[in-house]
Amino acid sequence: MKPGCRACLVLASALALVLLTGPGATAGPPTDQLRESIDRALTALADPDLRKDIRTRERRAALRGIANEAFDFEEMTKRALARHWHGRTPAEQKEFVQLFADLMERSYVSTLELYAGEKIRYAGESVEGEQATVRTKIVTKQGTEIPVDYRMHWRGDRWLVYDVVIEGISLVANYRSQFNAIIQTSTYQELVARMKTKVVSVAEGTKEKGAALKP
């Protein structure tokens, strides 16, 4: 019976080790502020009046308002374009911020929609001067946790998100590599053209998808 005992022991100690871990997380202003924005976005997403497919446009508008208060789109664009940002005229910069905000917003909103009804757990934050990271987990219905970290900075009177890190992948860094790839193989103008078609096709795609969901 010795091997059996040993197996039990291994099992028991494994269990004990698991039970001993306990994270201590404190919430502060960045978390509170982020939670408020996410809650509002989720409420808008769940709103039965806005939920209908026809209302997609209105719903996006409602979400855009919330996103503009929570995200620093200009900072995100600067970081994503990196060295390509400086060569652009102010008008070009402004246009690009708008295009990028549309794209980010849509991809972030579709992510939220994908996980609609699933819980978001706030797993702590760390603040260093005017920089903060808020850690969250999306808890899926199957109990899988998807880590989503928000990098924020203090701008004047509030904390603004300048990057979202999903499962270790920084969205800003990811777009940076895409933008750079396009600019290097063709031109900045080509990138803008692609962004424009993308924004349109994403909008149409969601409509089709929404319709297709209703059999």
Binding site: A7, A14, L15, L17, R83, T133, G168, S177, A181
Partner: protein
Amino acid sequence: MSGLRWWVLVLGVAMAIAGCVSVSTTETVADASALPESSLSPSPTSEGAEKATGEETLVEDYDPWAPFNTAIFSFNRKVDRYVLKPVAKAWDKIVPDPVERSLKRAFDNLSMPRRLVNNLFQLKLKGAGQELARFGLNSTLGLAGLFDVAKVFGVEASEADTGQTLGRYGVRPGPYLVLPFLPPLTARDGIGFVVDTALNPFNYVIFPFAALAGTAVGKRVDERALNLDLYENVEESTVDLYSAVRNGYLQQRQKMIDDLRLEIR
């Protein structure tokens, strides 16, 4: 020789599927040596590393084999579009979600040896214990892994693969690598992948290649079916899929290895 050919074919088919749009992996080619100084802070995550990568500086992903990789990537995408996705969609229609998830768990259960061995090599003794406990519980009470009983007891899986282990001991990722039918890799992770494949018990049953093919294809289809919306979402929100997948893969791998090094200190 025919055995080898089989093997290659099987592997390819199995994973082509995943490879096509396996969204989940990257690492910036930031020096692995540039570990965060703040690693001694109480926070277990590697914020330091994140900040240290410097958002403003453009660190390009190391991809000297880009022409080859791009060609294979577009081949994989076609396989995904014309084979994997249609099959996964049909599968998704026939098979109820809970069954899909049960199958996924059973496949995950079978890769216990890979996780166990690598947890040990990475000196994650707790992780190794968890894997043993999980395998014991899930193979028996969990009916060959169809149900995750261990999770109910709070014993989570401890993911670990050979590419990570190599990275943990300082092996650099090397060039980014895309192979037919496979998820994205780097030279290092490609070597890890071969070792991990050898650690799959299904390779040693009576008809190894057929079994490997069967499970690999089944697993791929099952996972693709579970993630239909997710893939669409990713395709929708990228402007350049090739570099998005590459960067995603490289970032994620780097993060895992950074975390490992922090844990161990």
